[in-house]
């Protein structure tokens, strides 16, 4: 009996040691670079050879990623939102700044840095946090679109109740609230149309 007790204790200690050590390694974030490079390549090939078309594609990828994230939050689907957040990080990484003026590049760099940090948090946080970061991200995307333009019409919508008033972008003028989801699905109004 005593032997058994000692055995359990010993293995518990060993396990703790192993976990502590492996935790350290496990937390190193894997780089998503190889994959993003591939995707980037694809985009370039798909689009026309002109510079403008490429730019449009990259901004479009970010806007589309943002919109599917918004849909996931509207649907109260935290897992899908996390997945969309991860894709958005990649889309931000793919953004090619060349072709924009110096001041635009500076602004876009700030937007990408901040936006991708928000997207990263969204990819590994519970719903409440995802929504907090979505608010910051929405501002980033809105400012980005002001520089890059958008091929599809977007609607800036606004909910006065969430966190002292919060805006988001939607591809439809129908209000579907990503900050509250089913709790208050239609709270908000269209504030502005962006072409």
């Amino acid at each position: 009996m005593k032997t058994r007790k000692t055995a359990i204790l010993t293995s518990a200690i060993a396990l703790t040691a192993v976990i502590t050590i492996s935790c350290k390694d496990g937390n190193k974030k894997e780089s998503a670079m190889p994959m993003s490079n591939e995707m980037h390549q694809e985009d370039v090939n798909e689009s026309d050879t002109s510079m403008d078309a490429t730019q449009g594609m990259e901004a479009k990828e970010i806007v589309n990623g943002y919109l599917s994230l918004k849909e996931a939050l509207v649907a109260d689907d935290s897992d899908r939102a996390a997945e969309a957040g991860g894709k958005l990080v990649t889309a931000f990484e793919n953004f090619d700044l060349s072709g924009y003026s110096d001041s635009e590049q500076k602004e876009l760099k700030d937007i990408i840095e901040n936006g991708s940090e928000q997207a990263e948090h969204i990819s590994d946080s519970p719903m409440k946090h995802q929504r907090e970061h979505f608010k910051t991200l929405s501002k980033d995307i809105t400012d980005m679109v002001a520089i890059t333009g958008t091929d599809k019409k977007l609607y800036e919508q606004f909910c006065p109740m969430y966190d002292g008033g919060s805006a988001w972008l939607s591809a439809s003028n129908e209000v579907r609230n990503p900050y509250y989801g089913s709790e208050m699905l239609t709270c908000g109004k269209v504030q502005r149309e962006i072409n």
Binding site: T6, T10, A14, A17, T20, C23, D110, E113, T136, D143
Partner: protein, 151 residues
């Protein structure tokens, strides 16, 4: 019994060996010009709170506890501090873009409101780092005003 004994020995030896693996200490002699407390006019009560409850991990200077001399505790701390600084380093405040500052301030406010910072694992040892309601109000008030002052 013989097997157990040898496992015990192996663990003991492993424990001793890992004590010799060095960790990078988070300490710097120079005072950063970009530091949050240098570039902002921070009231002394808020300054005090930030230094006691936040700066140990969110800056380039850590006042290490005794158990940092023992592995694997030192690894655990090193990892936490590295992650904390990549999220927010008060010593680099002035280098952040206004956009980033605003989003950091928003996160600071949210984390304090939700009692997510300082971490429980930190306040477990550092009892003085626990934020009182008064501390929280002062911090949130200051950070909100700072956020609103940024363009």
């Amino acid at each position: 019994m013989k097997v157990l004994k040898s496992i015990g020995w192996i663990l003991l030896i492993a424990f001793v060996v890992i004590q010799f693996i060095p960790t990078k200490r988070n300490q710097s002699d120079s005072v950063s010009k970009a530091d949050f407390l240098m570039v902002n006019t921070v009231p002394s009560s808020v300054r005090q709170t930030l230094q006691v409850s936040c700066y140990n991990c969110h800056s380039n200077n850590t006042d290490y506890p005794w158990y940092n001399k023992v592995q694997p505790a030192a690894w655990y701390l090193e990892h936490h501090i590295k992650e904390a600084k990549s999220e927010l380093n008060f010593n680099e405040w002035a280098d952040y873009s206004n956009r980033r500052k605003k989003s950091k301030l928003r996160s600071i406010i949210n984390q304090i409101e939700d009692d997510q910072m300082p971490l429980d694992s930190y306040t477990l040892i550092h009892r003085d780092a626990i934020l009182s309601e008064k501390n929280k109000m002062a911090l949130i008030g200051y950070m909100t005003a700072l956020r609103d002052s940024l363009k």
